[in-house]
C-alpha cells in the first residue's frame, strides 16, 4: 500500500500521480520504472518514473488514461492508496558526456524524460528537446524544461505550436542544426519511438528507446515482455527497458503491445453503465 500525495490531470487524459514510496525514492535512477496496481483487483502495469524527491520520500509518475487499469488509477485522489507500487525496476539510462543529445518526448514520455535530461545536463551535455503532440495544449512541463534544455523544438499535428505534422518532421529539425546530435533518446508511444529510430538510422545517430511492453512481475519471471533485439530474445524488464532503437523488431513489438486490445473492451462491457460525472479528470461516480 502506498499513499497518494497528489493526483491531478495535467493535460487532457494525462495524469500526474505522486506516491509515498521512500524506499523507491532513495534508489530510483533515470530510465527506471515501477509496477503499480490501483486496487486489489487491479492488473499490474509498468509505468516510467518521471520524478522523485528523496527527502520527502515520494515518486512521481505521468500516465495516460487508456484502459481499465489506468482508468482505475485516474479515479484515485490524494489521501487514497494504491495497492502496489514496486520498484525501481529495469536498468537505468546510460548517462555520459556524449556531446549534444536530442531528447524526443511525446505523451507520458515528456514526463519520463525529465530525470534523464537532468542527468544529461549534470554530465555536461548540450540537450535539445523535441516535444511531439497532437496539439499545443497537450504539451506539459515546458516550464521545467526551459530551465534545463539548451533548445526546445515542438512538432504538433495541427500546427498549433512549432512544426506542423508528425515526428517524421524530425529530419527537418536535425538538418537545421549546425551539427547532427551525437545521440538521440526517445520516450513515448511505440509509433514515436519506431518512427524516430527509422529516421536516425541512415544518418546513423545512436538512438536509445525506452520500451513499454506488457509486463506482470517485472523481475524476469513471466517472460511476457520479451522483445527481439538484433535477432535475439530479450526481456525488457531485466535486460532493458532501454535498447538501441535501430535493433528493435518494431513490427513484433507493436503486435505484442496490442495483444489484449479486444479484452480491454470486454472488461468495460462487463458492468452495468454507471452515471459518471467527471470533474477535472476525477471520476465522481
Amino acid at each position: 500500500m502506498n499513499k497518494i500525495i497528489e493526483r491531478k490531470m495535467i493535460v487532457p487524459n494525462m495524469h500526474l500521480l505522486t506516491l509515498e514510496a521512500p524506499d523507491i525514492a532513495s534508489k530510483v535512477k533515470p530510465g527506471q520504472f515501477v509496477i503499480v496496481r490501483a486496487n486489489d483487483e487491479g492488473e499490474r502495469i509498468p509505468l516510467s518514473v518521471a520524478d522523485w524527491d528523496e527527502e520527502k520520500g515520494t515518486v512521481t509518475i505521468i500516465f495516460m488514461e487508456v484502459g481499465a487499469s489506468t482508468g482505475a488509477l485516474a479515479c484515485l485522489a490524494a489521501g487514497d492508496s494504491v495497492a502496489t507500487c514496486v520498484g525501481p525496476l529495469g536498468n537505468e539510462t546510460e548517462i555520459g558526456n556524449f556531446g549534444t543529445v536530442m531528447c524526443v518526448g511525446g505523451c507520458y514520455g515528456i514526463g519520463s524524460l525529465y530525470p534523464v535530461v537532468k542527468a544529461l545536463k549534470k554530465a555536461g551535455n548540450r540537450v535539445i528537446m523535441v516535444f511531439e503532440a497532437r496539439s499545443n495544449y497537450l504539451i506539459y512541463w515546458v516550464d521545467k524544461y526551459i530551465k534545463l534544455a539548451d533548445k526546445i523544438f515542438n512538432v504538433t499535428r495541427d500546427g498549433s505550436l512549432g512544426l506542423k505534422g508528425h515526428i517524421s518532421r524530425l529530419p527537418d529539425i536535425i538538418n537545421g542544426l549546425p551539427n547532427p546530435p551525437d545521440r538521440v533518446i526517445v520516450n513515448g508511444c511505440t509509433f514515436l519511438m519506431a518512427r524516430t529510430s527509422e529516421m536516425t538510422r541512415d544518418p546513423s545517430i545512436p538512438t536509445v528507446v525506452n520500451l513499454n511492453p506488457i509486463m506482470i512481475d517485472g523481475t524476469g519471471m513471466c517472460g511476457v515482455c520479451r522483445v527481439t533485439i538484433n535477432g535475439k530474445m530479450k526481456f525488457a524488464c531485466v535486460d532493458g527497458p532501454e535498447f538501441s532503437g535501430h535493433e528493435v523488431d518494431w513490427k513484433e513489438f507493436l503486435s505484442r503491445r496490442k495483444a489484449y486490445l479486444e479484452e480491454e473492451v470486454l472488461f468495460f462491457r462487463r458492468s452495468e453503465p454507471k452515471q459518471a460525472v467527471h470533474k477535472e479528470g476525477k471520476c465522481q461516480a
Binding site: R37, E43, A72, T219, M221, C222, M233, V238, K251
Partner: protein, 473 residues
C-alpha cells in the same frame, strides 16, 4: 496356532482408501479443488492400516523428517488435535505438503506395505489433519523461545523462505520476509493452480507464520529496492530463497508471436492475477480454442488442465519422449487424461507459424523416436527426419522449465553461482560463498519440488541459528 497372531495378520488391509474426487466431467469446467479430502471416518480407517513399525522407514523418506507413525497413531485414536501438533513440529505447511508433495517417491515409497502395493496414504492423512484444524478454526500457536534480539531477513516467501521463517521465529529470533510480488507464497500462489492447491490454503499457512510474529513485506524486490549488502547492514543474517524464476524458451522461430506463453506467464495470469475470473477481474486473458502445452512435468499438466477450465475445446500435451518418461506425478498426468487432455508423445515443436497480425496459427512439429538412455537415465529422443507435420493451434504454453532468477546473484558481489546460474551453497547448511548469507530451494537446486525447498530451508534455519548463537561462520 496363536490366536493373537492370526488377528494381527488379518488386520493388514492392502486396500488404500481412495480419495474422493470431483468427477472429470464436472471438474474440467470449474476451478474448485479436484481432490475433496478424506472424511474423519475414512481417515481413521486409513490410519489403522499403518503397522506402526519399530523402525519406521517412511520417516527416512521425508525431507523434513516428520514423525509419521506418531501423527498417524493420533488419528487412529481420534485425537486429531495432538496429531496436527505432532505434524507441525516438523512441518509448518502441512496443508500444502499434503496436497503437492510427491509422496509416492518419498515417505510412501518407503512404507513397508509398498512392497505389496498397499502403502499407507501418508500424504492424504497429512492433508486431513491440516484441513481438520482449519475447519475447527482454532490454530494452536506454539510457545516461542525468549527473544534473542537477532534479526533475520528472508528473501522470497515461497516454501523455502516460509520454512526458515517458521523455524527461526520459534527460536526467538526476529524474522522479516521480503516478497517481490503483491501476495506472499511464491510459487504456491503464482504457479500451482487453484484446483490443485486452493489459494485460501496458502493464505492460511502464510497467515500462521504472521501470527507467529514474522513480518511479511510484499512488493519489495531485493536486488532492486534494496541489495543484499544493504540488508546485511540491518540484519544479522540473510536467507535467499528466490526460486527458479526465469522461463526457458526453445529458441525456435515464432516464439514471440502473440499466443505463445511461458508457463509462468500463463499460470501467473490465471492464479495470482485471478485471470480465470476475467472479466470480473481486470487482468485480461484470451479465450483460446486450441491450446498446446510443450513439456511433460507438473507445470505442463497444470497449464493443460487450466486451458480446459478456461473453455478450450482442445488441450494437448506435446512431449518429446514417451509416456513412461513423463516427469509429472502419475496422479497429475492421470487427472489430466481423465479430464480430456490429449497427449501427443514423441513430438517436438520446431516452428510456430503466425497469421498476418502476429498471432499464432499453426505449430510445426517433428516426430521422435527413443534411442539409448542419456545422462538423465531416460531414453534419449531422436528426431525422425522428414516427419514434419502441422497442427492448427491458437495458443502454445511453453512449460519446459526455468533457470534460477538472476536478480539477486547479479546484484550481490561475493555470491558465487554455478554454470547453470544457481547459487553455490553447502548442501548440509545452506551457507553460500558470502558470509552471513544462506540460500536454499530452487535458487540452489534448480527447479525442484516444494518439499525439497522446505527441507533445504530447515537445514539452513538450523545453521543460521547455530551461527547466531555462536557467532561462528
Amino acid at each position: 496356532m496363536n490366536p493373537e497372531k492370526t488377528e494381527k495378520t488379518s488386520k493388514i488391509d492392502l486396500n488404500r482408501n481412495d480419495m474422493p474426487r470431483q468427477s472429470p466431467e464436472i471438474r474440467r469446467h470449474n476451478f474448485n479443488e479436484v481432490a475433496l479430502g478424506y472424511t474423519e471416518e475414512i481417515a481413521v480407517k486409513e490410519a489403522k492400516r499403518c503397522l506402526q513399525c519399530k523402525k519406521p522407514k517412511c520417516k527416512t523418506g521425508c525431507p523434513v523428517e516428520i514423525d509419521i507413525p506418531d501423527f498417524i497413531s493420533c488419528i487412529v485414536k481420534g485425537d486429531f488435535s495432538s496429531g496436527i501438533k505432532k505434524l507441525k513440529e516438523k512441518n509448518c505447511l502441512p496443508a500444502v505438503c499434503g496436497r503437492v508433495c510427491p509422496q509416492e517417491a518419498q515417505c510412501e515409497s518407503q512404507c513397508i506395505l509398498a512392497n505389496k502395493k498397499g502403502e499407507v496414504a501418508i500424504g492424504r492423512l497429512e492433508r486431513f489433519l491440516a484441513d481438520w484444524e482449519a475447519k475447527e478454526g482454532k490454530v494452536d500457536i506454539p510457545t516461542k523461545a525468549k527473544p534473542t534480539g537477532k534479526k533475520i531477513a528472508i528473501v522470497g516467501s515461497g516454501p523455502a523462505g516460509v520454512t526458515v521463517a517458521g523455524d527461526l521465529i520459534l527460536l526467538g529470533h526476529e524474522v522479516t520476509i521480503f516478497e517481490a510480488l503483491h501476495k506472499a507464497g511464491g510459487v504456491l500462489v503464482y504457479g500451482i493452480p487453484e484446483f490443485r492447491l486452493p489459494k485460501a490454503i496458502v493464505a492460511r499457512e502464510v497467515d500462521y507464520i504472521r501470527q507467529l510474529g514474522a513480518k511479511v513485506i510484499t512488493d519489495y524486490v531485493v536486488g532492486k529496492t534494496r541489495s543484499i549488502d544493504e540488508l546485511l547492514k540491518e540484519f544479522d543474517a540473510v536467507f535467499v530463497g528466490t526460486g527458479a524464476g526465469l522461463p526457458w524458451f526453445m529458441d525456435i522461430p515464432g516464439e514471440n508471436l502473440n499466443g505463445v506463453y511461458s508457463a509462468n506467464e500463463y499460470l501467473t495470469r490465471m492464479n495470482l492475477m485471478r485471470g480465470y475470473q476475467f472479466p470480473m477481474s481486470s487482468t485480461p486473458v484470451k479465450k483460446h480454442v486450441r491450446v498446446a502445452v510443450v513439456g511433460g512435468g507438473n507445470v505442463a499438466m497444470d497449464s493443460a488442465r487450466t486451458a480446459l477450465r478456461m473453455g478450450a475445446d482442445e488441450s494437448r500435451i506435446i512431449y518429446r519422449r514417451s509416456h513412461a518418461e513423463l516427469p509429472a506425478r502419475l496422479e497429475e498426468s492421470e487427472n489430466a487424461e481423465e479430464e480430456g487432455v490429449i497427449f501427443n508423445m514423441l513430438t517436438l515443436p520446431v516452428r510456430y507459424i503466425g497469421d498476418e497480425n502476429g498471432w499464432l496459427k499453426e505449430i510445426e512439429c517433428l516426430k521422435m523416436e527413443l534411442g539409448e538412455p542419456d545422462a538423465s537415465g531416460r531414453r534419449r529422443p531422436i528426431e525422425i527426419p522428414n516427419s514434419n507435420f502441422r497442427m492448427e493451434m491458437d495458443a502454445v504454453v511453453c512449460a519446459i522449465g526455468n533457470s534460477p532468477n538472476p536478480l539477486v546473484p547479479s546484484t550481490t558481489p561475493g555470491l558465487q553461482t554455478t554454470r547453470r546460474g544457481t547459487l553455490v551453497a553447502d548442501q548440509e547448511t545452506g551457507k553460500t560463498t558470502k558470509e552471513r548469507v544462506w540460500a536454499g530451494g530452487d535458487i540452489v537446486t534448480g527447479a525442484a519440488t516444494v518439499i525439497l525447498a522446505m527441507g533445504a530451508g530447515r537445514k539452513a534455519a538450523r545453521s543460521i541459528h547455530e551461527y547466531l548463537e555462536t557467532g561462528k561462520w
